[in-house]
Amino acid sequence: MGHVVIDVMLKPEILDPQGQAVNGALPRLGFEQFTDVRQGKRFVLTVDGEVTDEVLAAAREAAEKLLSNPVIEDVVSVRDSAHDEDPGR
């Protein structure tokens, strides 16, 4: 079983109210050094067998078509989780 990890972030120029809410909470916990927070999304897609180039290409297409909205978001990474130290599952 293989896993493709896809990370999607709001474009830098788009306001991120969720990130702002998190940013507002950090100082209350004593984390004073962080000046901004942006919140994104991670998708983990599972396939039977290996993550081949075809699988990655299909994942890229899914990321552009459904998992992100190109008007407000960027697909920042599409990768085989086997290359990650922590696949994040």
């Binding site: 709001l10 306001l15 109210p17 702002q20 459904l66 909205n69 008007v71 407000i72």
Partner: protein
């Protein structure tokens, strides 16, 4: 005169939209998200609600429902389509309208009687208004912030495709206080506020929603 109202899983305001159509003498036809069939209707309303639980992004999953396979080409061909709230989000996700809707800048759910200025009274859904007219209709959403890049915003302004603008304080951080827009032909209109809740005395702040529905009836009859 038949106006279709699409029901997605999680639609809330489909019945009110159908009721508004009947209030002005139209026939409301229920359309099902799972059927790629518009049943020969003369216009379509995508209603408010939380289709597919607003999962992924508001409207993102509804955009790929079978009914949209029929609706998108029909809308591109000139069929009048009105997207209200979640319906507006579906139209943007479908790229039938530019831009996107994001979480309100103040992060709270809005539920207010909202004043709007009708900026364009020549679309299929606004011809019974006067340009510049101020109306009050219900606004209720958590993700109503309209965003687009500067070039798109400028295009919308220059081409007169900003159909509604918030009057008074901007309720959700929408760029340029945009509440509703249209495509270049004016048959597709999307807005966050809810005209379908404002068609009868005693059930809302006004009856300012009625002209949306009389406009499209007139448009179809004369077409």
């Amino acid at each position: 005169m038949k106006v279709g109202v699409v029901t997605f899983p999680g639609s809330l305001d489909d019945r009110d939209a159908a009721r508004a159509v009947r209030a002005v003498g139209g026939e409301a036809v229920s359309l099902w998200h799972g059927d790629a069939d518009l049943k020969g209707v003369d216009a379509v309303i995508l209603p408010g609600g939380f289709s597919y639980g607003d999962y992924l992004r508001c409207g993102a999953i509804a955009r790929f429902a079978p009914v949209m396979d029929a609706l998108i080409p029909a809308a591109q061909g000139g069929l009048p389509v009105l997207g209200i709230c979640n319906g507006f989000q579906v139209l943007c996700e479908s790229h039938l309208l530019p831009g996107a809707l994001i979480r309100n800048d103040h992060r709270k759910f809005n539920c207010v009687d909202q004043r709007l200025v009708v900026e364009n009274a020549s679309t299929a859904w606004t011809s019974d208004f006067e340009a510049g007219q101020e109306i009050t209709v219900v606004l209720k959403n958590g993700e109503g912030g309209f965003v687009a890049d500067e070039r798109t915003l400028d295009e919308l302004e220059v081409e007169g495709r900003v159909v509604f603008r918030y009057a008074g304080d901007n309720p959700n951080g929408s760029y340029r206080a945009i509440a509703g827009i249209s495509n270049d032909r004016g048959n597709i209109v999307g807005l966050m506020p809810h005209p379908e809740h404002c068609v009868e005395e005693g059930y809302g702040p006004s009856t300012d929603g009625l002209p949306f529905f009389t406009s499209v009836l007139r448009q179809v009859v004369s077409a």
